[in-house]
């Protein structure tokens, strides 16, 4: 049976750093998509994935193995993303950074109905403020339980539930507006 993420990370921590490649192969696409949804930039997303693995190497001695590896990894990923935002936006207070929705060009029109729907959902996600996008990314795509997300964000599980609900409602609102705009 393949070793768990925690077992591999413990081996990395104890000096077998080449085993980091196993974790890279398991998580790079998921991390890349996580960052791509947050930044909308392919090149920056690849840099951020690389940054996460450099940080894992750097902080590996501090890995306790008590919580799920993915929770620890996403803590690192969030920090890498926040540092990326700081670099991008200079001296803006962090609260303002959090509040500002990502601005991006609309994606090109696609032909098939299903593809159009996917394009609309992506566009709606792009228009969501990044903190809400992040909570949806974590709860929908990363195979993390709400309790684990609460650990990761350092808040109560009830807060996470409310945030997921609010983010999804706002996404739904944007999505329906975009869809009506398309059909009208």
């Amino acid at each position: 049976m393949a070793p768990s993420d925690n077992e591999v990370m413990e081996a990395v921590r104890d000096g077998k750093v080449e085993k980091l490649a196993i974790l890279f192969e398991r998580h790079q696409v998921m991390l890349y998509n996580f960052f791509l949804r947050l930044t909308g930039n392919r090149s920056a997303s690849e840099d951020l994935v690389q940054d996460v693995f450099i940080r894992i190497l750097k902080y590996r001695a501090g890995y306790q193995g008590q919580s799920k590896f993915a929770v620890w990894m996403f803590q690192i990923a969030r920090n890498a993303h926040i540092d990326h935002l700081r670099k991008q936006r200079g001296d803006l207070p962090l609260d303002e950074q959090f509040a500002e929705p990502a601005a991006r060009e609309p994606r090109p029109e696609v032909r098939l109905e299903a593809e159009q729907d996917i394009a609309l959902i992506r566009r709606a996600l792009d228009l969501l403020p990044w903190k809400k996008r992040e909570i949806l990314m974590l709860s929908r795509f990363q195979d993390l339980k709400l309790r684990e997300i609460a650990d990761l964000l350092g808040c109560q599980v009830g807060t996470v539930k409310a945030q997921v609900h609010r983010a999804l409602k706002e996404l739904s609102h944007i999505y329906l507006e975009l869809r009506e705009g398309r059909t009208s």
Partner: protein, 261 residues
């Protein structure tokens, strides 16, 4: 359950991490509350749509950069020294925790070995570890649905000093059954590198009869000519005699056969 309580649990309901009793309560509530029912139906539909958003693939540059970074980290003397000291002071392993004196003795012997030439052994072990990792990556990529990634997997396999049996089997499977002709061609080239292995030789000879693409047939004919064995000649004869063979391939095989004989 009132609307407020129901909405507090919508996230659990969507994620599917909810106790059956709580789920039953929500279901009972939405059966009688139109507003909550409409909301949860809308959110569930969107939640499902989010789940089918296709994942995008990073470029090959990400993988290349990662392995360059890892190799650089492993081979930097400063990092290796850090590894050494970390091992030295680590009490995580039971062997080290047994007694500090014993640890000092063990590490002392280790240091002695390192200083008297054990260093090259470490480098060899490092090289082997890297080869093992490459093999793992190659195998994982050979299984991917994207042809580009499978091609990359073949290229990783070709870079191995001595591929294991699993990698050889995976390459032969690609050669015999991959739907993409470019992948099959790349597999021919990769296996050519390991032709000294009797199992590889055997698989290459057998594969000729399984191919239907003229491009792959020609590539295999060239390779079998290189092998110069009676069994390779037999395989060529069999191919020449087969029906529906493209005339150019037949001509190529006849020239090849003359070279072997």
């Amino acid at each position: 359950m009132n609307c407020e309580k129901a909405k507090e649990q919508f996230a659990d309901y969507l994620v599917g991490d909810i106790k059956p009793s709580a789920e039953a309560e929500i279901r009972a509530h939405i059966a009688s509350c139109v507003s909550c029912r409409e909301e949860i139906e809308g959110l569930s539909a969107l939640w499902a749509k989010l789940g089918v958003l296709p994942q995008e693939q990073p470029s090959g540059g990400l993988r290349a950069n990662f392995y360059a970074m890892l190799e650089d980290y492993k081979t930097k003397p400063a990092n290796r020294l850090r590894e050494f000291w970390k091992e030295f002071w680590s009490f995580r392993k039971p062997a080290y925790g047994f007694s500090f004196g014993l640890t000092l003795l063990v590490v002392g012997i280790g240091v002695g070995a390192f200083l008297t030439g054990g260093g090259s052994g470490k480098v060899t072990a490092l090289h082997q570890e890297l080869q093992d990792m490459r093999q793992t990556v190659a195998l994982s990529m050979l299984d991917r649905p994207s042809a580009t990634e499978r091609l990359e997997g073949i290229s990783w396999s070709a870079g191995l000093d001595k591929p294991g049996e699993k990698t050889i089997v995976a390459l032969v499977n690609k050669l015999d059954g991959d739907p993409n002709v470019n992948v099959r061609l790349a597999a021919v080239d990769a296996l050519y590198l390991f032709r000294d292995d009797p199992a590889v030789k055997e698989s290459l000879i057998r594969s000729l009869a399984k191919q239907d693409s003229p491009l792959v047939q020609v590539a295999l004919i060239d390779l079998l000519v290189e092998i110069r064995e009676r069994r390779a000649a037999d395989a060529l004869k069999q191919l020449i005699g087969s029906a529906n063979l493209a005339p150019q391939v037949k001509e190529h095989a006849e020239i090849g056969l003359k070279q072997i004989i």
